[in-house]
């Protein structure tokens, strides 16, 4: 039987309809027209396929040829990913630049990884070994920070028939042959994996331990667990991107995936310029040696933005399978959701809330569920943590993307316009944010600082009381409040300025180690408790305010670095002495 040649019958922006596509599969990658524009089949009705094209379709004509590739959209997995920067469909942007200059032309065909580069491979198994899926055959030092395990693909098990000696090999060289039930299988450094399909694991685990970010309001007040999912939401100008950058820079994950989907070009450039120069506080090596960037900026094709999220999370899963703790930062998931809306509208689908397709919650859930703490196929504990930025229109959190996202995450950092306007950064609002991981990470913190949990509760209560008092102050002014309540206002200001606000551009304060976080908070709350006693004993608040140490307390966060805890202790000692002197003066009760 002669199958008709598939041809384009209609073009409407990135959505192309083609006839004669009887043999096509859902989500198969196709090449459209003379330029071979990359697209993906998203609907099949009889012989007619609807294709979402990842590149600009200008001057594409009905009648143009469509070629199937027989495979769904897949990424290349192997050494060389770390330190690279890709577009939404894993085309390396530096190679594109070398080839065609500053502008991204259509129909660029570039391999995601360099197949000619030789990597020093060190085998970990010997011939004859029984091997399981996901087991490491050997390893490659990908960057000074990343020892890349070369794993068996998830569908290969059997006996190791042969394995190469240590030496330099390319991605395509056969490293080993495995005798499987279905016959011999050759294994190379390169694997491919369809992006829309989660990679297999052995089992999901409970989250145990925080992803330390070095940001006080996050680690101390609203911690994220390793393997957890968080959303950071705020209107424009509230500092979502800078907060995301801070997390990508300082969090203690071993691999960072930063997905810039639908955001500003210059922001990606900033990451590209900055990360190679910044040092990881844990290893002292450049941050780029553990980072992979996916950049599909707002002016790049919309359909590629839709897939960039999946490309990123698949790469993250691949490193998780090697036993790494991976953190994924997606900026912004709202732009991604908007591509779903735009594509659905072009497909003339029935819209649900605010024009978004009815599948929006399912798609969000599928994305966030690809994170988690797991036991890998090889039996190691590893995790993928996800932080998604949400950009609600008009800063209104009741819109569908924010609302549905909140169903699938357990940690919510709400950015506040008023705080941002006063340039209080990070502008995470302490009353509107929450974390359900506090229990999960409690045990870890208890080992670092036994009083962490108590301090945390105390400071949150203090801030809540301050908020209630502020409502009164807004009506009648602060002077009518009793001294004990004005103390709360006073200490809350210190907590906000001296603890919660943290400058991303201050060398000493950009990263705050857990021990320093607790030391700062402990000192401020000590002032509160002792101050309360003093006021009860009749000491006026003005005397406490006027203590010589108070201005130093406000500047302590930037005055003492992570290795200068002694200085903090000394300040605490001085503050205690000053408070004790005040107590001496106190009139007898």
């Amino acid at each position: 039987m002669k199958t008709p040649t598939p041809i384009v019958t209609r073009i409407n922006g990135p959505i192309v309809t083609a006839d004669g596509m009887g043999g096509a599969q859902m989500y198969e990658v196709v090449q459209v027209g003379e330029l071979g524009l990359v697209g993906e089949v998203i609907r099949l009705v009889g012989e007619r396929a609807t294709i979402q094209v990842y590149e600009d379709t200008t001057m594409l004509k009905p009648g143009a040829a469509v070629r199937g590739t027989g495979a769904p959209l897949s990424v290349w997995l192997g050494p060389g990913l770390v330190g690279n920067i890709y577009d939404g469909i894993q085309r390396p942007l530096p190679v594109i630049q070398a080839r065609s200059g500053a502008w991204i032309r259509r129909g660029e065909k570039v391999d995601p990884l360099d197949t000619t580069k030789r990597w020093a491979f060190e085998p970990l198994l010997a011939t004859g070994a029984a091997v399981q899926p996901g087991q490491a055959l050997g390893q490659v030092q990908e960057t000074p920070l990343v020892r890349h395990k070369i794993m068996l693909p998830p569908d290969v098990a059997g006996t190791l028939h042969s394995i190469v000696a240590p030496g330099e090999y390319t991605l395509l060289d056969v490293l080993a042959v495995v005798e499987t039930a279905a016959g011999p299988r050759e294994v190379t450094m390169l694997q491919r994996w369809p992006v829309r399909q989660p990679r297999p694991i052995r089992e999901r685990l409970r989250i145990a331990g925080p992803l330390i970010t070095g940001q006080r309001i996050i680690d101390t007040l609203f911690p994220l667990g390793k393997g957890g999912a968080a959303a950071i939401a705020g209107g424009f100008g509230t500092g979502k991107t800078i907060t995301q950058h801070q997390l990508a820079k300082w969090s203690d994950a071993e691999i960072i995936l930063f997905i810039g989907c639908g955001e500003r070009g210059n922001e990606m450039t900033e990451v590209l310029r900055e990360f190679p120069e910044l040092k990881d506080p844990h290893s002292g090596r450049p941050l780029m040696e553990r980072t992979i960037l996916i950049a599909n900026t707002s002016n790049m094709p919309v359909a590629a933005r839709e897939v960039s999220i999946y490309t990123g999370i698949t790469l993250a899963e691949y490193y998780r399978d090697q036993g790494f703790h991976v953190a994924v930062f997606a900026d912004s998931t709202s732009r991604w959701a908007e591509t779903l809306r735009e594509l659905a509208a072009r497909l003339e689908e029935m819209p649900a809330e605010e024009g978004f397709p009815a599948t929006l919650p399912t798609r969000l859930a599928q994305f966030y569920e690809r994170g988690g703490a797991v036991t890998t196929l090889a039996g190691e504990r590893a995790s993928v943590s996800i932080v998604g930025a949400v950009s609600p229109p008009g800063g209104d959190f009741s819109e569908p993307v924010t609302q549905h996202t909140r169903r699938f995450i357990r940690c919510f950092w709400a950015l506040d316009t008023e705080l941002a306007n006063a340039r209080h950064y990070p502008s995470i609002h302490w009353l509107h944010s929450y974390s359900e991981y506090t229990e999960d990470v409690g045990a870890w913190w208890a080992q670092q600082a036994p009083d962490w949990s108590g301090l945390r509760t105390e400071v949150i209560t203090l801030l809540q009381r301050e908020d209630r008092l502020q409502q009164i102050v807004r009506l009648v002014g602060p002077d009518v409040l009793p001294e004990a309540q004005r103390l709360i206002l006073f200490v809350a200001e210190i907590v906000k300025d001296g603890f919660l606000a943290q400058s991303a551009f201050d060398e000493k304060d950009a990263y705050c180690a857990p021990a320093r976080q607790v030391a700062l908070l402990r000192m401020i709350l000590m002032l509160y408790r002792r101050g309360r006693d003093l006021i009860e004993a009749g000491v006026p608040l003005a005397r406490i305010r006027a203590l010589a140490c108070v201005p130093h307390l406000l500047r302590a966060k930037a005055a003492f670095g992570n290795d200068e805890l002694a200085g903090l202790a000394e300040l605490e000692g001085r503050l205690q002495a000053e408070l004790a002197a005040l107590a001496q003066e106190a009139p007898p009760p």
Partner: protein, 466 residues
């Protein structure tokens, strides 16, 4: 004329349907998506259009110059075999063009063999150079608090009746780099603005002697609204040529983006698209991004494109989709404030909601002065507190405020009247701006200034009160 090529493409007579600005032509062959179309009415007048949707059955053509007078039986459509292209050349500076790039000043069309697709191509993020060089605008509210850097896109959010034209004209007159004496070339795109607004800008360019360095593209209020969808693309295509081929520093001024978005909504509605917020199409964000992202610097070229787009917020609502989506794309925003304006402060640039995202990398040591960033942060913090004190004063009366809060009120007054406020022809050097900032802070006690280091306080803080 460049795109009125006579004998190109097939010609079709008659349309199945004409609806708003859309013409549906049936049984076309060999027509591409986004192809340029020439529509001819019975009188022989030609208008340009482009293909929005094409199938083997019919083509949907958007007529850029309106469909008035077209008859479905007699119109003739000629498909020109390429997308909308514009001849670009350095000689376009000093000239006036219509919204589609055709001369309006009676001069000849620019001579150029270089014809560019007006949609442009996305800049590879790897090839971008991060914008860093401080541009001095001579306006304290911008230089001191929301500094503009070369290659930035910084829109002005305004409202009807606010002096955005005067503010942007002043920026254009005064903008320069600190060390180099490089002058900006300018590209001006007027979208749906009135003739007198366009005249105001032209006069301004003439008065400041910049006329020969400006290319104007005018799609004024009486031009067909769909034409506006191409005007900013035409202007930016010329800007890209000047910046990245000729190595010039280009300042692009677009006014008013709200009119552009309105046209986009009009076309979307005519096509029967599913609307998003307030009836604007769901792709408004991507569409705006395809314009705003055409600013910046690229590796290997000395030139740059800095964009200042003006938009009027309907009923001063910053959460309206147009300013909202713009703010998500641009690198900050300058917000004009009606309250300041009514109190006679010029420029009425709102202290708190204005923001320049690139300021952090363009000011400070090596660019302006060491105290620039901490000073700005301190001014923001204090001014935010002033707003709270004022709200409180409304309730309990100024008399009841604490002594400290009264000092803050004084500071707020000084900040608005002496720092923000300045003459329309006053060009303040950045050092003067910073000193004025310290003068205002001097009204507050030293202990209130937590955001500046002790060293900077020692250097700049001169106690004024008490």
């Amino acid at each position: 004329m460049n795109f009125q090529v006579e004998d190109r493409g097939l010609q079709y007579t008659g349309a199945a349907r004409i609806e708003g600005s859309l013409v549906f032509v049936e049984r076309v062959r060999d027509v591409g998506y986004d192809e340029l179309v020439e529509i001819c009415d019975p009188a022989g007048h030609r208008r340009l259009g482009r293909v929005l949707d094409i199938s083997d059955m019919h083509a949907v053509v958007q007529v850029l110059e309106g469909t008035t007078g077209l008859a479905s039986g007699t119109l003739r459509a000629r498909f020109l075999g390429e997308s909308f292209r514009l001849p670009v050349s350095r000689d376009m500076l000093g000239r006036v063009f219509d919204g589609l790039g055709r001369p309006l000043d009676g001069g000849p069309p620019p001579l150029s063999g270089d014809r560019r697709d007006v949609n442009g191509l996305p800049i590879n993020p790897v090839a971008r150079r991060y914008p860093r060089e401080f541009i001095q605008t001579g306006l304290s509210a911008i230089d001191g608090m929301n500094a503009l850097v070369r290659g930035q896109k910084l829109p002005i959010f305004s409202g009807n009746g606010l002096p955005h034209d005067r503010v942007s004209a002043q920026i254009v007159r005064q903008a320069r780099l600190l060390e180099e004496q490089v002058e900006f070339s300018m590209v001006f795109a007027g979208l749906g603005v009135k003739h007198d607004v366009a005249q105001y800008f032209i006069r301004n360019f003439e008065d400041s002697g910049a006329r020969a360095r400006v290319a104007l593209f005018l799609s004024l209020a009486d031009a067909p609204s769909v034409e506006r969808l191409l005007t900013p693309r035409v202007a930016l295509t010329v800007a890209e040529h000047l910046a990245f081929d000729c190595g010039q520093h280009v300042l692009v001024l677009i006014t008013d983006m709200t009119n552009y978005c309105e046209s986009l909504r009009e076309v979307g509605t005519a096509r029967g698209e599913i609307p998003g917020r307030k009836g604007y199409p769901g792709y408004l964000y991507s569409d705006l991004a395809s314009l705003y992202e055409r600013a910046g610097r690229i590796e290997g070229s000395p030139g740059s494109i800095t964009q200042v787009a003006i938009l009027t917020m309907p009923s001063d609502d910053i959460s309206h989709p147009v300013p909202d989506l713009t703010g998500y794309i641009t690198e900050g925003q300058i917000v004009l404030d009606r309250d300041l304006f009514q109190r006679g402060v010029y420029p009425p640039i709102a202290g708190l909601p204005s923001l320049s995202r690139l300021m952090k990398d363009g000011v400070g040591p090596g660019y302006t002065r060491d105290d620039h960033a901490p000073l700005a942060s301190q001014l923001f913090a204090c001014y935010a507190y002033v707003k709270r004190v004022r709200a409180l004063a409304v309730v309990i009366g100024e008399e009841e405020l604490s002594a400290l809060d009264k000092l803050y009120l004084k500071f707020g007054e000084a900040f608005e009247q002496r720092f923000l406020n300045q003459g329309e022809y006053e060009n303040r050097p950045v050092a003067t701006t910073l000193d004025l900032g310290w003068d205002a802070l001097a009204l507050l006690p030293r202990d209130e200034l937590h955001r500046v280091s002790a060293a900077l306080l020692a250097q700049h803080y001169r106690q004024a009160h008490g």
